[in-house]
Amino acid sequence: MARGIRDKVAILGMGCAKFGERWDKDADSLMLEAYEEAIADAGIETSQIDAAWLGAAFDAVNIGPSGIPLAMALRLNDIGVTKVENYCASGTESFRGAVYAVASGAADIALAMGVEKLKDTGYGGLPVRTRGTTHDMIGVTGSAPGNFAQLASAYRARHGVGADDLKRAMAHVSVKSHANGAKNPKAHLRNTITEEQALNAPMIAAPLGLFDCCGVSDGAACAIVTTPEIAKSLGKTDIVTVKALQLATSNGWELQGSGWNGAYFHTTRIAAAKAYQEAGITDPRNQISLTEVHDCFSITELVTMEDLHISREGEAWRDVLDGMFDADGKIPCQIDGGLKCFGHPIGASGLRMIYENYLQLLGRAGDRQRAEQPVFALSHNLGGMPNQNVSSIAIVGMMGA
């Protein structure tokens, strides 16, 4: 295995716009909002940024297909700006570009921005879009809930879990995220809900009800990264470093091959194992302090707990119901409200997760700060659908951890 990037790159500053229905903002204003916080946190000038990456998933309804909107929004100093897209994993993808640039020595300071302006479509949920001329003839363009709901049918069949038990565990996931989001001033949804509400909500894609689904939001999130040495030279003392950054992309085995049972993410298992090795983590259930996972749907979060090797296969639903992932549990998950309540501006989400983990590590998360000092904070950003996806894992921690 490659040597990896553990502790080679430090986060100099981060920022995040308020997520939500930002009717009054264009994408460039959202990017600026995130950037102003990040650049102030980093304590540098715009002219010190050597390169930038921009993550956006729905460029067709959003910013168009290039890095130019970021360069223009921030008036970057004629540096290289690359737009990246990898479905809903685009935010972590932009982070990966910036981190790799610094790790390689090609850049001293690099910027990652994720943005999505989704509330100009005229309807709720993700825009319907093509997946290419050939796919459109032989594939199924269902909705995101429809694609992810299938996890539940397969999970029940594979593990013999009753429909009611699984639905209740899924409800617990969402009730928990709403409770967390209520404490987060930047969250899109700040209302608490009850288990009854979640269980009795209108069906979107069986068995996913309204509260099993995250909405979509407008928003942006930003990271400025550099080497630990430069961070120190700039006066930083509490330095958060990248411990692991891994990406796994489906090659069609799940969709077209044989062996996948439909109840888990093959890619997440691969990416998680590589990330733990890169970070030097051997016992994730006891070493990971908190997680921000891609809870686009309650069932996604639930099975991801298994794919991250935190819950045993077929038992995540029990861990969920036991409160293991609640804010006061052993490994809080979505302590900021997650995609479910912080919101899901697609291209920004991966960076928003890292932003939260960064704040938690530095004790800057306010009302929602985890009681015990976290050591390793993991984020998991997934794009696509269960049978064809991009799964990314970023683990951050304090320098030396």
Binding site: T121, G122, Y123, G125, V128, R129, T130, T133, T134, D136, M137, I138, G139, V140, T141, G142, S143, P145, G146, N147, A149, Q150, L151, S153, A154, R156, A157, M203, I204, A205, A206, L208, N251, G252, W253, L255, Q256, G257, S258, N261, G262, P386, N387
Partner: protein, 479 residues
């Protein structure tokens, strides 16, 4: 030369049976006179069916598990999907027949079903085997008599040299521009003249003499006819023909009017397929086709030959009762509903991509790695087998007739579907191969992991902007 005969037959009847009482419950205030017809049920095809997809099913029913032999494919219909694109050619692709097959569409009259059958029999005398298909999906005006009497169905007859399961004795035709009803090209519904005139001047003076002439040509007495097949929805007409030709009333074939309805130009073929199910050796079958003239065909059953997979009776047993007249209207474009913004998704088909992928799209042909035996859909340059990503080793592997089962599923109420919720999931073929597939002809609450499936050729989506439709295969419950 032993002449021509029928070597196989098959049918297709859509699963949904709309109750005529539901039609009348809605329209009765306006068309109270149709109360007498508001009985029993009619077969209505789904939003994703048309004469092409129904004909494909009828052909598959005919061939069952046997070899798909045919030198030609003809499709008769007065509701052809395409005015300029061979409809029978689409069927040929879906059936994965050889490119050397000749295809031809027949249309223009209720009689086109029997006329194309006669042409096929003539070709058989010259040594050619024809897959004769007929299918109809009409859009009668709401609150019309035709709406009550019409039904959707398709049927298939394999015609070839030799007697097969029913040898042709004789056929006879007359052509006269007797306009009992009409529909100009592009129009959705028919305009009908008075039924009493059609009976007295049409059936009595055109069909009756034709029937007598055919019997005379064959040297047969009417009493020899074991089954008189008169595909006419008007009560009393079959009886009129039987009586005038001295055919026993018991010989009159069931018009299938109470269980399917009248499937237009497909009705003669459909009723013939139905009659062949029970025909005994020596039975004389007399088939009538009426429309701007008359065709009469006389066959003698041999008791031999292949049986269909289900046949008319089998399809009739595969039935789901519906009282949802609104859904029927919407699925026939007779009722405009707000579809929402998600329906605005552009379904433009790249004809270039369709052509180069035609085996995969139209015939569900996947790939099989000649080195490892790995089966996959679609066929790709590099094998999906994680242990051997062999390059360019795949041969064609047709999956359309391979049984499958549900691996994952959902009933999606968010994505646009003309028949929500949209049901789809990952499926696994027996022997290998997987795909994500839409489910059709299934009730959302019937979805279970492991449910047995059978693939069916259906409409995938409509491109309303350009007037095109996309076909692909969907998974339906196997039982």
């Amino acid at each position: 030369m032993s002449g021509a005969g029928i070597h196989g037959f098959g049918a297709y009847v859509p699963v949904t049976r709309l109750q005529r009482s539901a039609i009348h419950a809605f329209n009765g205030w306006f068309a109270g006179g149709l109360k007498g017809l508001a009985k029993a049920e009619k077969a209505v095809s789904g939003w994703d069916e048309d004469p092409i997809t129904m004909a494909v099913e009828a052909a598959r029913d005919l061939y069952a598990d046997g070899a798909r032999n045919a030198d030609a494919v003809t499709l008769a219909s007065t509701t052809h999907v395409f005015a300029d694109r061979a409809n029978a050619g689409v069927v040929k692709e879906a059936l994965n027949l050889a490119d050397t097959v000749m295809t031809m569409d027949a249309g223009g009259s209720q009689r086109c079903g029997t006329s194309s059958l006669i042409a096929a029999l003539d070709a058989a005398a010259a040594g050619r085997t024809t897959l004769h298909l007929a299918a109809e999906r009409t859009t009668p005006k709401p609150a019309s008599e035709r709406e009550m009497t019409a039904g959707d169905a398709a049927a298939a007859i394999l015609v070839g040299p030799g007697p097969g399961l029913a040898r042709l004795i004789a056929h006879h035709s007359v052509a006269m521009d007797f306009v009992d009803h009409f529909r100009e090209a592009g129009e959705g519904s028919d305009y009908d003249w008075e039924a009493r005139w059609v009976r007295d001047e049409g059936f009595a003076k055109i069909a009756v003499p034709a029937l007598k002439a055919a019997l005379a040509k064959a040297g047969l007495d009417g009493g020899r006819v074991a089954r008189l097949i008169v595909p006419v929805a008007v009560r009393g007409i079959p009886e009129l023909l039987a009586k005038s030709a001295a055919i026993a009333p018991e010989a009159i074939a069931d018009t299938l009017g109470t269980v399917i309805g009248h499937a237009g130009a497909a009705q003669p073929t459909l009723m013939l397929a139905h009659a062949l199910e029970t025909a005994k050796a020596g039975d004389i079958l007399c088939l009538v086709g009426f429309g701007q003239g008359c065709d009469i065909l006389l066959f003698e059953a041999t008791g031999a030959g292949a049986r269909p997979r289900l046949g008319v009776s089998g399809w009739l047993a595969r039935r789901r009762e519906s009282h949802n007249y609104g859904q029927y209207l919407f699925h026939r474009d007779l009722l405009s509903l707000e579809k929402g913004m998600r329906a605005e998704h552009d379904s433009k088909t790249a004809l270039t991509a369709l052509w180069r992928n035609r085996k995969a799209v139209m015939a569900l042909v996947g790939g099989r790695c000649t080195r490892t035996g790995t089966i996959q859909f679609p066929k790709t340059d590099v094998s999906v087998n994680p242990n051997d990503h062999a390059i360019r080793t795949q041969e064609d592997y047709p999956l359309a007739d391979v049984p499958a089962r549900i691996l994952t599923y959902t009933a999606d109420a968010l994505t646009f579907s003309p028949d929500p919720p949209s049901c789809y999931g990952n499926i696994e073929f027996e022997g290998g191969g997987r795909m994500m597939s839409e489910f059709t002809d299934i009730a959302p609450d019937a979805l279970e992991v492991g449910t047995d499936l059978r693939m069916m050729f259906r409409i995938k989506s409509f491109d309303e902007l350009r007037g095109f439709r996309r076909y692909f295969w969907k998974a339906a419950p196997a039982h």
